[in-house]
């Protein structure tokens, strides 16, 4: 009896095994790659998250897209211009079809604006200046803004266009609503216009995209790969191992310490470019007494000399060299190269000088230093915990005892972000979503008033910068605007509002048969991938 069952099982197994390992038909070009996170949804409005947006933009397309150099270029719109200060007019591309064959028209643009700005969508903020989207004819739409908005085209690069008909058919005219208990159809299905189509998806494990043979861009821009096979691998060492063992053609993100190992392996190639994200340290500058400090009755960080002492006690070049293995760009500004408003001339750090720092502390009345709590994430930025430990050690040399609390992101952000803002000294990173310095200034430096300065955790406040921000927001002349941005960035720098540390470097690693386009916004576009 037992043997018979066993034999049956074996037979069944052999059959299934045969079916599974049966050889594939035609030789297709398959590109296998991995990232530390998964695109949590196929719905392009589900979350304002770099990886989700860049992954989904292989299937969906915006009106205006960015090319391999991060410059704006026509996407589903062929032209755009301001017809008056509050109106942007877009001419749409003709002959484009969604993956299900439905033609693309102005109705889809109006619908997408509506879907992106309603609850469930996470992408309402890039459209916050837009009052209305008006269909002029089948291939012309007007975006009416509340006031003059010079940077609307930049904001539109993250708004992918969805099909009105498809969304209505599948009852997904609103993005996923977490309070309902149903999965939205768009969470695991797609119907974009883009160069790739969804073939298979196991959330959090594997997602397979195939080339869209009917893509409108094919004749100018042929797609080289037939299939892109994405796996999520959260553990950095495992990810690197899978690349080294030949199971993958490309991985990102790559930990700095493993870069030289990969670069030194035959047939491997490392790609890098400066990232837009700036890593910096912030101080609580508003509470009369710090929450976590040995100084009682006053807040030492209200004194500019103390902030400067912290700044000059930190040897950023050592951090960049040793912790980041030179994959970092030390910075004096809150924005980095590639962000509109950045200027190399301003990017001069104050020198590392522990002796001067000690003197400043003594002048401020703390000759023996003091202790202060130090909040840090340990799974958010490249080597975040190691950077914080290095900072702690450097501060120790001028008598500051930083009590480091390194936590996972959910706990860290829950502590230091709104509404609690419970920190005295912390590390944070910021990427301006608009690629424009005003975004960083408004979120990080402007006085916290419930609307602006949301991530100004330390509640820094400088009326001069607030006034400049207001002017920049409505200035349409690029030259004047850049000049105002420079003024605001310089003020921030010289007042030691923050201690900017560095911009990370985006590092991707591939097998050397792969060619691709790497950009500082960490957007990985499959359409640029070529395989020998």
């Amino acid at each position: 009896m037992a043997t018979r069952v066993l034999r049956l099982v074996l037979a069944a197994w052999a059959l299934v095994a045969l079916a599974v390992v049966a050889p594939r038909g035609a030789e297709a070009k398959i590109f296998r790659w991995a990232n530390d996170g998964d695109s949590n949804s196929m719905d392009p409005y589900a979350r304002e998250e770099t990886f989700l947006l860049s992954f989904d933009s292989n299937m969906y397309e915006p009106l205006i897209r960015r090319n391999a150099k991060m410059e704006l270029e026509p996407g589903l719109a062929t032209e755009w211009k301001q017809t008056d200060p509050t109106t942007w007019r877009f001419t749409l591309r003709q002959g484009v079809k969604f993956h299900d064959g439905t033609p693309f028209t102005a109705d889809d643009v109006v619908f997408s604006y509506d879907r992106a700005t309603h609850p469930g969508s996470n992408l309402s903020s890039p459209l916050s200046t837009v009052k209305e989207v008006r269909k002029i004819d089948d291939f012309t739409v007007d975006f009416i803004t509340n006031g003059p908005d010079p940077i609307l085209p930049m904001n539109l690069t993250v708004i992918d266009i969805m099909s009105k008909k498809w969304c209505e058919e599948h009852n997904t005219t609103r993005a996923a609503d977490l309070t309902k208990n149903e999965e939205s159809y768009a969470t695991r299905h797609e119907n974009g216009t883009g160069p790739f189509m969804l073939k298979d998806r196991e959330p959090d494990v594997r997602t397979v995209l195939v080339k869209n043979p009917n893509w409108w861009g094919l004749k100018d821009e042929p797609i080289d790969i037939d299939e892109a096979d994405f796996s999520r691998i959260a553990n950095a060492s495992t990810r690197v191992a899978a690349l080294l063992s030949g199971e993958l053609d490309m991985v990102y993100t790559v930990p700095p310490q493993d870069i030289s190992r990969i670069a030194g392996t035959p047939h491997m190639k490392v790609w890098k470019t400066p990232e837009l994200r700036t890593i910096f340290l912030g101080f609580d500058q508003s509470r009369p007494e710090l929450l976590e400090s040995s100084v009682k009755g006053k807040n030492p960080f209200k004194d500019k000399r103390v902030r400067q002492a912290f700044y000059q006690a930190i040897d950023e070049s050592a951090i960049a060299a040793k912790v980041m293995n030179n994959y970092a760009h030390p910075t004096a500004l809150m924005v980095g190269p590639g962000v509109n408003g950045y200027d190399t001339a301003l990017d001069k750090r104050f020198p590392y000088d522990p002796a001067a720092a000690k003197k400043l502390l003594a002048e401020a009345g703390y000759p023996d230093g003091f202790s202060v709590g130090f909040d840090c994430p340990n799974d958010r930025y490249v080597d975040d915990e190691a950077i914080c430990q290095a900072v702690t050690a450097m501060l120790a040399k001028i008598g500051i005892k930083a009590n480091l609390l390194a936590q996972t992101r959910a706990k860290f952000f829950g502590k230091i972000n709104a509404p609690r803002y419970e920190t005295s000294f912390y590390m944070l990173g910021w990427t301006p979503a608009t690629y424009d310095a005003l975004n960083s200034l408004k979120n990080l430096v402007q006085t916290r008033d419930g609307k602006d300065g949301v991530f100004n955790t330390g509640s820094y406040s400088n009326p001069k910068i607030d006034a400049l921000d207001k002017q920049i927001g409505v200035e349409l002349d690029k030259g004047k605007r850049d000049d105002l941005l420079h003024q605001a960035l310089t003020l921030t720098r010289d007042d030691f509002a923050y201690i900017p540390l560095h911009q990370q470097v985006v590092v991707w690693a591939t097998d050397d048969k792969v060619d691709l386009a790497i950009t500082g916004d960490n957007y990985f576009q499959l359409r640029f991938v070529k395989m020998k």
């Binding site: 950095a236 060492s237 690197v240 191992a241 080294l244 930990p255 310490q257 493993d258 030289s260 190992r261 929450l291 976590e292 040897d315 050592a318 951090i319 060299a321 040793k322 912790v323 709590g373 340990n378 915990e385 190691a386 914080c388 430990q389 290095a390 702690t392 050690a393 450097m394 120790a396 040399k397 009590n403 480091l404 609390l405 390194a406 936590q407 996972t408 706990k411 860290f412």
Partner: protein, 323 residues
């Protein structure tokens, strides 16, 4: 069943035969020492354990650097290889970690922390678990039901969650100033409270078997008080598996501590324990800086190995049934 035990008058004279004089003494003089000398493995284990524990206790005296004195750590010396390799130097015999701390010194200091946390947590878990297991197995009925169902609840929560709860509660209740100082205790309580169940369930299982054996029945009949039966007769007979569990759990406790530090519970990363050093060094294995995790790994392995071998010997030597 409780009826069997309770009605026995408290006044009845103790029935145990008087213990032969100097029994413990004779033990130490002959059997124990003899069995110790006879086993070279045990002697070796004892020497290794003694060395490691000595290194931990005397870390401030024997370690070449103080890795917790951050002012003395230089980032520019980070990831230096061991002294005998190219680029190494004898300032840092076993190399440095990713922040420039001397690996050897960090190991010695880290062992102090790991041992403190590991041993305290396992001891606490063992005491609590054995006591509850004995009570549950012996009393049975409602008491047993309550204890064992609480154990079920407890088992459902991985150690990391228990630790988050205890840590969160401690942070909520205690003033911010003392939080840094109590971090170690939070860790011990957290780890102990996720380990006691293993002891409790194991002991209860053994008690269920033992309590019906003749020697226990006999003790009851002649009127030995329940707690004396439990402690004097039952305990020695169920302790074998407990010792196996305890010595093995020491390794688990030490490693759990490293996992918890990642969640921001317990000790700050500026004071790495042995486990934390291995966890951090783990990220550098792929890049070729193997010494950050491998030396502490070997150190931990040696410690666990010797403790377990000593535990084996101890159990055999003191087991009344094997004498």
């Amino acid at each position: 069943m409780a009826d069997l035990v309770s009605p026995i008058p408290a006044a009845s004279p103790p029935a145990n035969p008087p213990t032969p004089p100097g029994r413990a003494r004779r033990f130490f003089d002959s059997d124990i020492l003899y069995s110790f000398r006879r086993s070279p493995v045990t002697v070796a284990a004892a020497v290794v354990a003694a060395l490691i524990i000595f290194g931990a206790l005397a870390a401030p005296l024997v370690a070449p650097h103080n890795p917790y004195d951050l002012a003395s750590v230089s980032l520019m010396d980070a990831t230096d290889p061991p002294a005998w390799l190219d680029g190494g130097n004898w300032d840092y015999p076993l190399g440095t970690d990713n922040l420039g701390r001397d690996v050897l010194s960090t190991m010695l200091y880290g062992t102090r922390l790991s041992l403190t946390v590991g041993v305290s947590a396992v001891m606490a878990a063992m005491l609590l678990g054995v006591a509850l297991g004995l009570v549950a197995g012996w009393r049975g009925g409602f008491t047993e039901t309550i204890i064992m169902r609480v154990a079920d609840v407890q088992l459902s929560f991985p150690a990391i969650l228990i630790a988050l709860l205890i840590d969160g509660a401690a942070r909520g209740i205690l003033p911010r100033d003392v939080q840094a100082e109590i971090a170690v205790y939070v860790l011990i309580v957290a780890i102990a409270s996720s380990h006691w169940v293993y002891f409790a369930r194991t002991v209860r299982g053994s008690v269920l078997v033992e309590r019906n054996k003749e020697y226990i029945q006999a003790a009851r009949v002649i009127g030995v008080r329940p707690w004396r039966i439990v402690v004097g007769h039952l305990l020695p007979n169920v302790i074998g598996p407990v010792l196996v569990l305890a010595t093995i759990n020491l390794a688990v406790a030490i490693v759990t501590e490293a996992t918890l530090s990642f969640l921001g519970v317990g000790l700050p990363p500026t004071e790495p324990s042995l486990g934390t050093l291995i966890r951090v060094g783990n990220d550098y294995l792929m890049s070729g800086d193997w010494w950050i995790s491998i030396f502490p790994g070997i150190w931990l392995a040696l410690l666990i190995l010797s403790v377990n071998l000593l535990g084996d010997w101890l159990r055999d030597a003191f087991n009344p049934k094997l004498r």
